[in-house]
Point group: C2
């Protein structure tokens, strides 16, 4: 699906890198970064773009894989004897290898198809891609079992990316709805999607999501592991968790949030917080540590996790289980202690050539936002930062897409590589389709604002194209270039629905007489006429004596 | 109208300073800054709180005032022989004096009732108020002919304020609708309201608005002056403009935008801009300057304007007629040249004891936002800055409340004193009631985020109260403390409408098993139990050998 009639998905080069071509009414075209994928039939899934690339490397092997176990889908499926809607599409044997990560290739100086693809998408040199991946400053999350993926890169030298969370909870939602949310999210520009399902059919929902996803899929495997022990955190074991991770690696999950930084000794640091621990994974692991009086098994078994991830090229998203859940708790001892541990784990994962990004907050007052990314970049050796907002105030439930977009734009400008969206339903309920769209659009704004502020070479072209369309009253072009063409057009049409209004030199905001841009164009015309006159008058424009710089050389005035 | 059943408007002290008292379910109360006014009957207007204060100063005199002239209401009224809905409420004779401005009193060391009122509202020392007003670093816009006003202060040492624009255009809207928008805007927290009407019944609309407004009303008198010359900018004269200003002074307008910084020699600087001149007043004056090849009459007659404003205590809002209308044009020569002139005019107004604020952009990339307020504060000697956003990207028509809230929060944190809201309809059409609400709430978020970031002594109390309610699952309190209680409650109730869900220890977002805050509370309990145990074990918490700081003194761990 494209978002406007003036939009066409085109592909470039032999790798078929997608762009959205926007055809303007003045004959110009504009190409935008495209995340929507080639379009899928949900029951059949997407074409397997990367299958040949992975095979031609010859370093993975298909294997039988873990047997399907109804328990993976939770108790309801066990009762029923089946998932509510089993995946009917083609199943291929999972693949794995040794050191098949993009970081491994990059460090060996090899340029992969994925790197070429990403370079074309970003409009940059492929060597920049390889170098940043090799250095750990960027990641290309791309599980060998997710061949449907259109590769993308996350790193501060590249366009700021946006993640959208989907997923059911024990209270609401179905498999179809989740696939629909996925498609909807990437249509509006989500660069990755996390499936945070915690309800029924958790394995099968993920299968449907992966087979239909052109973007990297992230998960938080502890959620499924907890389901397997009937929600009793104390019963979690490393073995159950490991098994769940392998299950998800085989399905093709591209990155996983691992809360390995929640150490036993940090838990007391949250005792006097205003909002304690607000990360689900963080609170689960903190509970486990205290119950067993043992160190977090994700930390003690971290090397084994690296060995698993390495074989599938799954990237770590090192979870910030102790992130602040209120502005009062921002940048406190618990948060920063955990960040130091995440820095240590980053280095450890790199020893295995495993790609890493580091998660960040949360709720942070605006004056403390920059410090978060500065410390993370410094301590974690430039590993990509991936933050949730942050929300810059706690007083606006119902509008937390906005409270957090303020923090998100700011932290991305200062170097955060990917932003996890927040929807209007944050703190209140599970987002529906409209909330997903609002969340994605709001975060595309934050990400693009950061790209512009960072001086990304192509970012401002988009703004300029839209601003020119605006100044020239090309309303259709203004809509077509908008992040959300339908909404822009609908708002305009509320008061001026007529076809003629689409080329009118005004809108209902100020009406015809007060349109500054119409007047400004007249002024420009007049200036062009007058400027010849001024030159005759001796090359100067006279100014009032009271002002300091009394004359302007007409020759140096812009034409 | 209050915005939630747990809200009560209360007043404090003999001056009757209003607050919104929020009654929480745990017996605590919380007091919030209140802008809504005591409530009015639109036909009768509000009580005249300040009348006695103004009279007791004994330095103004009633006078007959300018005769009503149907022409003030525009051509439609002339045709009809009447405004479409004449003001029926009591008319009082306008008052004027000499040097009756708050700045005049402040400089003489006098503390006015208005200053006392403001100090109570802000919770600060009245001497701070007097000193800031005397120095020109803050203004109390308070026309002697607007006795219905509940005084407020605009300055960087005080809470960041929000202005909401209302007003009809040639295309839409009626008098009743504008009064309704005013009441609606102040209900949601607008600190001042600008009536930017350019359509029919312009004088009468303003009369209704002023008589019903508990907040300062601002206008852009050039709009009405242009109506008086049938929209032909070339026909504008100083005399027509002056007459319009006096008309509005008599009605009680508290501040007026005056585009006196658009000098003839700056007009050519806009010729190569992407979006030319986007201020309506700016484009009108630029057109006039070029047509007449004369200096802007607002600049040449500025001292006369000061003499008029001084007699009524009208504050200048020095308009940024050359503000950038696209990120491409930000911080350019035209914009900064005009700012230098505004700085010069600020000093001139202060010679007359006239209060001044300075308007700012507009559209500015995030990396250039701070520079705007730093230069303005430096050049304009600390006069309050009043910015429109700024929007940090141009690509999101339909969402410009968000693109601009990002810039607004940032610029306010760095010292902007008041933010002019932007609604979702910006660039597309005239805002309706819903847009006004969305715009005001979005800007209250930006302003409050800035107050928190600036470390305003009372700002974060509000966040903390809400966060505590959230952590303790006092859902009703969370709604009551929200900027928009109805929306927060409605979002929650979409999935969990039952009464029992209002005290449930989860919501539909994560469901009961995955609620981090519930788990976190369990963890806290468990920690309290365990910590006694740990002490028995020898006062240390054992940590895994792999980690560096292996022991934590339990005595120093927070309880």
């Amino acid at each position: 699906m494209t978002v406007h009639e003036a939009h066409t998905r085109i592909t470039r080069g032999e790798l078929g890198v997608p762009f959205t071509r926007v055809d303007l009414t003045n004959g110009e075209t504009h190409e935008l970064y495209c995340t929507s994928g080639p379009g899928s039939v949900p029951e059949a899934g997407l074409p397997r773009l990367r299958e040949a690339w992975i095979e031609e490397r010859g370093d993975t092997e298909p294997y039988a894989g873990r047997r399907t176990d109804l328990r993976d889908d939770g108790r309801a499926a066990l009762r029923r004897g089946a998932a509510s809607e089993e995946w009917q599409g083609e199943r291929v044997a999972p693949r794995r290898g040794q050191h098949v990560t993009q970081m491994h290739y990059a460090r060996r100086g090899e340029v992969t198809r994925e790197m070429e693809y990403v370079a074309l998408r970003e409009g940059c040199d492929v060597e920049l891609v390889r170098r940043e991946v090799a250095a750990g400053r960027a990641i290309i999350p791309a599980n060998v079992n997710h061949p449907e993926l259109e590769p993308m890169i996350i790193g501060r030298r590249f366009l700021v990316k946006v993640n959208a969370n989907i997923g059911n909870s024990a209270v609401t939602s179905s498999i179809r709805e989740e696939v629909d949310k996925l498609t909807w999210a990437v249509t509006w520009g989500a660069d990755t999607v996390m499936d945070l399902s915690t309800g029924d059919d958790i394995h099968t929902t993920r299968e449907w999501v992966l087979r239909n996803s052109p973007v990297p899929i992230g998960t938080v495997p502890i959620y499924q592991a907890l389901e397997k022990v009937n929600g009793e955190a104390d019963k979690l074991t490393w073995e159950i968790f490991r098994d769940t991770v392998i299950e998800q690696c085989e399905q093709g999950v591209d990155y996983m949030t691992i809360h390995a930084g929640v150490l036993l000794r940090y838990v007391p640091m949250t005792a006097n917080r205003v909002t304690g621990i607000v990360s689900r994974g963080g609170s689960i692991m903190a509970g486990w540590c205290l119950a067993h009086h043992e160190e977090n098994f994700l930390y003690t078994h971290f090397d084994e996790l690296c060995e698993i991830f390495q074989q599938y090229d799954v990237s770590f998203s090192l979870g910030d289980g102790l992130r602040p859940g209120s502005t009062a708790d921002a940048n406190d001892e618990a948060q920063l202690s955990e960040l130091r541990t995440l820095a240590e784990l980053t280095k450890r994962a790199w020893e295995y050539d495993v790609q890493v990004m580091v998660e960040g907050p949360g709720h942070v007052p605006l004056d403390l936002v920059e410090e978060n990314v500065v410390l993370q970049q410094d301590w974690c050796h430039g590993a990509p930062f991936y933050t949730l907002g942050p929300l810059v105030t706690d007083i606006a439930p119902g509008y937390d897409h906005i409270t957090s977009a303020i923090g998100a734009a700011t932290i991305a400008w200062h170097g955060t590589a990917m932003l996890c969206y927040v929807t209007p339903k944050e703190h209140l309920g599970l987002p529906d389709r409209d909330d997903v769209k609002t969340g994605v659009i709001t975060y595309k704004i934050a990400a693009h604002a950061a790209d512009v502020a960072k001086g990304h070479p192509r970012a401002r072209e988009w703004d300029d194209a839209l601003s020119k369309a605006r100044f020239e009253f090309r309303w259709r072009d203004q809509f077509a270039l908008a992040l959300d063409p339908q909404t822009a057009e609908a708002f305009h049409d509320e008061t001026l629905p007529a076809e003629s209004a689409k080329t009118a030199h005004f809108c209902s905001m100020c009406g015809p007489k007060f349109c500054s841009m119409r007047i400004s164009q007249d002024v420009r015309e007049r200036f062009r006429e007058k400027s010849a006159e001024f030159v005759e008058w001796g090359g100067t424009i006279y100014a009032e004596p009271a002002s300091r710089a009394a004359v302007v050389d007409i020759a140096s005035a812009p034409e």
